[in-house]
Amino acid sequence: MMQKRDLTCIGCPMGCQITVELDGEEIKSVTGNSCKIGDRYARKEVIHPERTVTSTIAVTGGDKQRCSVKTKGNIPKDMIFECMDAINRVSIPAPVKIGDVVIRDVCRTGIDVVATRNIHKA
């Protein structure tokens, strides 16, 4: 069955209005985009939408209470809240360095959660 999906591209500030025609999981056409980023985004978005998740994590014994973190790559959009639960369950001891893995393979996505700031010992 043919379906039409209207999307706003998040690839850049242009915010192109993109229309994707698809039959089940088969993409028939992508229109409205101005560049390749839009095409790539639209194809991904209609089948397997993904996002980067950023949040903070509790730190013990550090000069700050919270350490900001991010998923090192995109994770499936429908796993954002599961990922947030995992992030909110852990706390890490200071010191922390940018890039330190705080959760490996979060929710079996294959993606690590890493620290995005340095925390020194208190």
Partner: protein, 465 residues
């Protein structure tokens, strides 16, 4: 105060955020030894430390970073270059003679004689008091940036049921952030008929979570004496006044305000720096110098940016110019001819810089500006005095997104009598000999003849999320 001996530095930088850091690094790279950064917070990095979302640095580092990561790239350079800085330090006054008065707990009150001063204080959020919202003054009303700091730095949740007024990027980002942390964001109300934030933020921060955005709406009542209990919003007419009968009431415990940023220029005004009433920041020339020789400005204190990469770029220019100023023995600006004046008109609200001394400008000079309304398929036109030298079609321009053109020094030098450069938006393209050649999808300008320069449409694509 008179008992303390006055310190002396070549360059004093007020503010250790993205602008101050980039200015300091550039000044050191250009050979200035004695640089001091004064920062009010307990750490360097400024507002980036609480901007934990990603999308920063695509332009500068060709990768997508979070705010703290972007800041750290600069902080590490400051450490490596042994640039001095004082934290927890409040600057009280800057004199026109470039004596900086500051205080902190360790040194008490102290004064510094500076060869040059770089203003990099950033901006503040417009508070509730500036919005004329009726109702009580209960707890639970925060500016979006305050809420961002509470959640991301302090680890506190400001509330659980949230209404947001204003659709600036910080408000949108906080709608997502609060939702991820378990709060319910009921609605985002925006006074204007368009969002002040990026479309991609509307998708990622609102649409992803089913949060409604109500354009042309404002808050007309706040209920609750001790704590916010409910907020009523209403549609506004063309006159921006609420339309009776359109009220909708939302029960909530929190109201976040994302209603605009204002450059923080108390210190600048105090020393006699001339201010642009449009940007609420100083007027600067081609090297980011204010009307007071040796006092420079960069970053959000100059004009509010939406892309930190441009802050870093602008600040580096200020740092370099300050270094040159100090090394030249603080000689007053050269230029035997009067500077060229940049005029913003016809939909262009302001330009930075606002004057150009051609002899001191770089080969290519980026002029940044904002438009006052949403324009589709309109042209950015540049006039050298009365002659149009650039006419570039843009698919869309909006107040929330900074625009730029680039001027070439050699083109300006070809016209020794040039007095004004006018930048305006033209919706009618009848005067355009290239008419019809632009298919609307072609972002890459239809330059006319001796054109001023290319404007890099590409750079517009790099705005942070």
């Amino acid at each position: 105060m008179e008992t303390t001996e006055m310190m002396s530095y070549d360059i004093v930088i007020v503010g250790g955020g993205p602008a101050g850091l980039a200015a300091a690094i550039a000044a050191r790279k250009n050979g200035t030894d004695r640089i001091l950064i004064l920062e009010r917070d307990k750490e360097l990095g400024g507002i980036l430390n609480q901007c934990i979302h990603n999308g920063f640095g695509l332009h500068t580092f060709k990768e997508e970073l979070t705010g703290p990561e972007y800041a750290d790239r600069f902080i590490q350079q400051v450490y490596e270059m042994n640039i001095e800085y004082k934290l927890d330090t409040m600057v009280m006054d800057i004199s026109a003679e470039k004596v900086v008065t500051a205080m902190n707990r360790r040194d008490g009150m102290f004064r510094i004689r500076a060869g040059a001063v770089i203003l990099a204080m950033g901006c503040r959020e417009r508070p509730r008091g500036a919005l004329n919202i009726p109702g009580y003054r209960p707890a639970g009303i925060y500016s979006a940036g305050t809420a961002q700091r509470l959640v991301n730095i302090e680890g506190y949740m400001p509330g659980h049921e949230v209404v947001i007024l204003g659709s600036g990027d910080i408000g949108l980002i906080m709608a997502r952030r609060m939702t991820l942390e378990g709060a319910t964001v009921k609605v985002v109300a925006e006074l204007m008929p368009y969002s002040g934030g990026l479309k991609r933020n509307i998708v990622q921060c609102l649409d992803d979570f089913g949060i409604p955005l109500k354009l042309s709406h404002t808050v007309v009542d706040i209920e609750g004496k001790e704590r916010v209990r409910a907020v009523t919003i209403a549609r506004v007419g063309k006159d921006m006044k609420p339309i009776p009968g359109t009220e909708e009431r939302y029960t909530c415990d929190t109201l976040l305000l994302s209603t605009g940023l204002i450059p923080e220029n108390e210190l600048s005004a105090g020393c006699g720096v001339e201010m642009n009433p449009v940007t609420k920041g100083p007027f600067v020339n081609e090297i980011m110098e204010t009307n007071i020789p040796g006092i420079f400005a960069c970053g959000n204190v100059l004009h509010v940016h939406d892309l930190v990469d441009y802050v870093s770029e602008e600040a580096a220019k200020a740092g370099e110019a300050a270094a040159r100023y100090v090394q030249s023995g603080c000689a007053e600006a050269s230029g035997d001819r009067t500077p060229i004046r940049l005029v913003a008109t016809g939909g262009v609200r302001y330009t930075v810089p606002s004057t150009i001394h051609t002899d001191r400008m770089d080969d290519l000079l980026t002029v940044r500006f904002r438009v006052g309304a949403v324009y589709r398929q309109a042209y950015v036109s540049v006039y050298f005095d009365d002659e149009r030298v650039q006419h570039q079609k843009k698919k869309i321009m909006a107040p929330g997104e900074m625009e730029q053109i680039i001027l070439q020094k050699k083109k300006l030098l070809e016209r020794p009598d040039l007095q004004t450069i006018t930048i305006k938006i033209e919706e009618d393209d009848t005067a355009d000999p290239m008419k019809g050649s632009s298919d609307g999808r072609n972002m890459s300008h239809t330059n006319e003849s001796s054109g001023a320069a290319d404007s890099t449409a590409q750079a517009d694509h790099l705005k942070e999320a």
